[in-house]
């Protein structure tokens, strides 16, 4: 069932269809639907050409108060009282400042307590709310789906479209249920859940669909955990990933700066409680996982679908049935400098990165600090702990987490995207291998020739201490 077809029908609806339908401004046969956008998040990388487009056509930003900008991709994570050293990065950040000033858009700049990674600040400022449509020129916008929002990444042409019209033309999508039953074993985290989903769905399994994550394992996750799961929806190709809002969601939002208050809060919660898939609603695709099977996972290859349990060996390309997958595995092992059959726990690591829009929230830092406490980072290991925002950093320091990290030999940094995509000075050198809590292990993603393995914060911290891939249990 296409989401566009559900408008006006009285049958049971999925969460996806409910949120989609309440944003349709205009729909016509054979045309994409025109959807209203409740929140438009902006950063310096994908917006300059969009603002240029507005200037060329003399168009204003239609709803600047529904638009919020931050500096995250290019910003250094050390010495932030100094000007940005890279002149090209500096020019891009300066361009955002100029554009936000000219078009009346709220901007959180480097050094501001509210500055941070765009997908960290939206939720923590209470900007992201259930039932909203949220877009940003950034594929990890799916993160905000953790609140039951329909949130997806867009290109720069669409950024300009939203700036000018506060709407987007969107084609109907299929619906996809991803159900995680049972409960997680001790030691498994939200990151392991989404890595397991990626292993099952592969990089293309969600293309053409919007996913809803559901089931007891998902419901038991905190908001931080749910954001980690939704964050990586795009890594299996889904347009967006959503989770029905519940008491956990409301509890997280209550009292946040932009959350409704008083009678408006009560009205909002009453409305948000209706944002659940109806009994009997059907999905076009479904994946079902058993939580009991979800052990700590990591990626071994060069796309996020190439995952294995940390306790496994490097896979043998010859064992893949599909010739395309086998070929991709061979190519990946060559790039990654790995030999089939090697235990993953014996692979030495050079750099540990704890951060990114996937895993830089307070709970992620607490999980990593719990492992680091009273231990020492392996000699020669480079580490970066990069909080997702100024507020996360402040909270972590109030809890003394920064001292735990620095006592253990971890490097404590300022907020930003950092080594997730290496647009700032935090990069891997050619051939260097990282254990990274980020979302993409693409070739060169963290620096030209760098080799990235995606892991959870707890595994990243344990790996920093062991020197090779390790779970916290391996340290005992």
């Amino acid at each position: 069932m296409d989401t566009s077809n559900s408008a006006g029908s009285s049958g049971p609806k999925t969460l996806i269809e409910k949120v989609w339908d309440r944003h349709v401004v205009h729909a016509a046969e054979g045309e994409p639907s025109l959807l209203y956008i409740d929140l438009h998040l902006v950063h310096e990388v994908t917006s300059p050409q969009a603002f240029d487009g507005l200037r060329l056509t003399n168009r204003p930003v239609r709803r600047p108060e529904l638009t919020v900008a931050t500096e995250d991709h290019n910003v250094p994570t050390a010495d932030i009282d100094q000007p940005i050293a890279d002149p090209v990065s500096k020019a891009q950040v300066d361009t955002l400042r100029k554009n936000c000033d000219e078009f009346g858009v709220q901007l959180y700049s480097m050094g501001d307590i509210n500055q941070g990674i765009v997908h960290v600040i939206g939720p923590e400022l209470g900007l992201t709310q259930p039932g909203m449509t949220v877009v940003c020129g950034d594929s990890h916008t799916s993160t905000h789906g953790a609140f039951g929002a329909l949130a997806f990444g867009i290109g720069t042409s669409e950024v300009e479209h939203v700036l000018a019209t506060q709407t987007l033309q969107q084609s109907a999508q299929e619906t996809m249920a991803i159900t995680v039953n049972g409960e997680l074993p001790e030691g498994s985290t939200a990151k392991d859940v989404v890595l397991a989903i990626l292993g099952a769905a592969d990089t293309g399994g969600g293309i053409g669909a919007i996913a809803e994550f559901r089931g007891p394992v998902i419901e038991a996750l905190s908001m931080e955990g749910r954001m980690t799961v939704c964050n990586m929806s795009i890594e299996f190709g889904a347009k967006a990933g959503m989770i029905a809002p519940d008491e956990t969601t409301f509890e997280y939002l209550k009292g946040r700066p932009n959350a409704p208050t008083g009678a408006e809060w009560d009205a909002a919660v009453a409305d948000w409680k209706t944002l659940r898939s109806d009994e009997g609603a059907t999905y076009d695709r479904e994946i079902v996982l058993d939580g009991a099977d979800i052990v700590p996972f990591m990626t071994w290859g060069t796309n996020p679908g190439q995952v294995a349990p940390i306790s496994a060996n490097v896979p043998d390309p010859a064992d893949f049935d599909d010739p395309g997958a086998s070929d991709a595995a061979s190519r990946a092992l060559e790039y990654m400098g790995l030999t089939a059959g090697t235990p993953l726990k014996e692979v030495p690591v050079d750099t540990v990165f704890i951060g990114s829009c996937t895993n830089s929230r307070i709970e992620d830092l607490r999980a990593a600090a719990a492992v680091a406490k009273g231990r020492k980072v392996k000699d020669g290991m480079r580490t970066l702990v990069v909080p997702g925002s100024g507020l996360v950093k402040q909270q972590a320091e109030a809890e003394g987490l920064h001292t735990i990290f620095t006592d253990a030999g971890f490097n404590w940094r300022e907020p930003g995207c950092s080594m997730c995509l290496a647009m700032n000075p935090d990069k891997l050198a050619p051939g260097e291998r990282s254990a990274s809590t980020s979302n993409r292990n693409f070739e060169g993603r963290q620096g030209r020739g760098g080799r990235t393995h995606l892991v959870s914060p707890a595994v990243a911290a344990a790996t920093a201490i062991a020197g090779t891939f390790a779970t916290p249990a391996d340290l005992d």
């Binding site: 209203y36 990388v45 240029d52 033309q169 070929d327």
Partner: protein, 194 residues
Amino acid sequence: MEPVAIVQGTAVPLDRSDVDTDQIIPSDWLKRVERTGFEKGLFSEWRDGEDFVLNNEDYAGANILLGGPNFGTGSSREHAVWAIQQYGFAAVISPRFGPIFKNNSTKNGLVPVEVDIETAEALMAAVQADPTLEITIDVERATVEAPAIGLSSTFDLSESIRHRLLNGLDDIGLTLQQVDKIDSFEGSRPSYMA
């Protein structure tokens, strides 16, 4: 954007799956605030390798990029589309595109030709065997044809995208024709959303 009706020419075979947008244009190139000049960044890490297909003289002058499954997955960077287009490609053929890349292509007049896997594999083999193989992509009919190997296939193209590609239409202009509906929708939003 410029209208596009027919893309006719030869193709470069990029025979690998999961070519993500970080490969198409590495993040260093994303620091630029301009909309042009991205052709040098196209596949810049792979282009340093002598045996990379874009460096093969046999394929010089090709205007169609022939990719494997899951082409353009990953980041939303529209710079990937700009780089491909500015290098000189007018269309990309793949059995499956990353969704944001595909959408971005249509906003710039780069034709995303999503064919079935058999057609993609037949074209890949044929272009690898004969770099001069002439391919014609017809946007009006949504067909891809290579007469020399007897190949004729259709591809998925919605009516609305076909119309926009053929006429080079500006989406924002089209949407602003509905501005009354946007105004009235805004009046009906819940008060807690402001």
